[in-house]
Amino acid sequence: MADDAPIRFELRRGAVTAVPLGIAVGLFGVSFGVLSATSGGMGALPAIVMSATTFAGSAQFAAASVLSSGGQPLAAIAAALLLNARYLPIGVSVAPYLTGGPVRRFLQAQLVVDESWAIAAQGEGRFDSSRLVGAGIVLWLCWVGGTIIGAIGGEALGDPTVLGLDAAFPALFLALLVGQLGSRLAVVAALLGAGIAVALVPFTPPGVPIIAAALAALIGLVRR
């Protein structure tokens, strides 16, 4: 029993640290719920189920926006999964610090999102798995709860263009993008990605320009 004390302490510490971020994540969930329920993309129930099972904001917004612009399901899936590809290196970075058997490691890995990963980071590439779990659970509850509130409230809102909600999608992606521009190469990839997408809009079905923009990431292979 005594051995559990430090683990519980870190669990609680992760959860407490996550509360302010959780409020932001919850409000973000509200906007996902509202946009999915109103802009003809998805509907309330699929949006709630998606938040509970996917738990990755930008990918969910990407899928909803491709669907609402009339894109094919395959394009929505590809855009969302390409965005979530960043969880591959993030998962690799925490892997040495997760504990227990495969099932436990699998469940801990599902609680990794950008915010819980940041809370669990202890510098020099080290991570605390208990803090990750504590933060992850709080953030998941806020994300799903926010989506439920937004989806149910959103269905009552009516025409999204009158309210300017169609401008909310790009504003949100812009906010997410700013957080990803940590290096000069990232800025170049962003400009290139936007350029590719805009150039393709007139010639391809909706959704395809976004997938093609992934090619911009290949500049990462250029030797510096």
Partner: protein
């Protein structure tokens, strides 16, 4: 409706596999440096593409309408370090006002 559920199911399944593959399958081995440097640039490239297409795209057309004004206001709000929800809110309000003022 069926298409929507297909997207929900496949995105969820794919994301679960992506998140688990590091901790469960790779077992803590690092990704090759070249793979890592490409994957790191996927999010900025795709998010920028989403900003561009959701601002300017309407089906297969490129149009400059009230959304552009909304996104411009959002950029100013972001530069002033406003929280995300406020950024989204001012963008929506700006676009709605622009439409009221007669912008398409």
């Amino acid at each position: 409706m069926t298409d929507t559920w297909l997207v929900v199911a496949v995105v969820a399944g794919g994301t679960i596999v992506i998140k688990a593959s590091g901790p469960v399958l790779l077992g803590g081995r690092p990704l090759p440096a070249r793979v890592q440097s490409v994957v790191a640039l996927l999010a900025p490239a795709l998010l920028a593409a989403l900003v561009a297409t959701t601002t300017l795209g309407r089906g297969q057309e490129l149009v400059a309408d009230a959304r552009l004004i909304g996104v411009g206001v959002a950029a100013v709000a972001l530069a002033l370090r406003a929280p995300v929800l406020l950024v989204v809110l001012v963008a929506a309000v700006a676009a709605a006002l622009a439409r009221l003022a007669g912008v398409a």
